[in-house]
């Protein structure tokens, strides 16, 4: 079975300060891991993904995440928050589904990021 836990439902930072959104996963197989962002009244946008290549993954808008197998973590970071980063962030996992490719995405419960001026 696969699952993902986002450790914080809500994170508040000041503009210009670092962002850390935490995610732990559970998987019996080699997982692929993603971060998606959802702005208010918008769809889900892919920020970055890990698929067993480099463990440090760089995404759009200055975000990056590091896959740590020993800690089963895939935390999302950004050195300096911008007001436009305020949104809901979802950590997502998927695992192999035999010949069909990969199992459907399992979403975490989301972390709402608030950026204060």
């Amino acid at each position: 079975a696969q699952s993902v836990t986002q450790l914080d439902s809500h994170v508040s930072v000041s503009e210009g300060t670092p962002v850390l959104l935490r995610c732990n996963y559970s998987s019996s197989y080699s997982p692929s891991l993603f971060w998606y962002v959802q702005h208010p009244n918008k769809g889900l946008q892919l920020l970055l993904k890990y698929t067993s290549a480099a463990t440090l993954v760089k995404g759009i808008n200055g975000f990056e995440a590091e896959f740590k197998k020993s800690e089963t973590s895939f935390h999302l970071t950004k050195p300096s928050a911008h007001m436009s980063d305020a949104a809901e962030y979802f950590c997502v996992v998927t695992v192999p589904l035999g010949y069909m490719g990969r199992r459907a995405l399992t979403f975490g419960s989301g972390t709402r990021l608030q950026v204060q001026p």
């Binding site: 069909m100 990969r102 459907a104 995405l105 419960s109």
Partner: protein, 114 residues
């Protein structure tokens, strides 16, 4: 840049009515998905579709739900007899290759069942 589109953006229906939610996946994609997000809750997988058949479905996807790719471009989700608890945002997603995993999401259809 190509993107997944969904129509309508908002659908209001009476309990017991049938609804069809429409999606146009990215044109060279082969894998199609429906997810839903009840207000205030996490995004949940409903069904995946490949090679004109369902490849995986969740326990949410019961006999009231069906999917179809009627014409090679559209991908539809039908709910036969809507219930109040079907009210949610429904997201369509598509992917080019299962092995690369990335799913591209549409903007969603908000379904309100009265």
């Amino acid at each position: 840049e190509p993107e997944v589109t969904q129509t309508p953006s908002h659908q209001v229906t009476q309990m017991g009515q049938e609804v069809i939610l429409r999606c146009v996946p990215i044109s060279n994609h082969l894998y199609f998905y429906w997810y839903r997000q009840i207000l205030g809750q996490k995004v949940e997988f409903l069904v995946s579709f490949y090679n004109n058949e369902i490849s995986e479905k969740s326990e949410i996807f019961d006999d009231q739900f069906s999917v179809e790719r009627p014409d090679g471009s559209n991908f539809t989700l039908k709910i036969r007899s809507t219930k109040l608890e079907d009210s949610a945002m429904y997201f369509c997603a598509s992917g080019r290759e299962a092995i690369t995993d990335t799913q591209y999401f549409g903007p969603g259809t908000r379904l309100t069942v009265l």
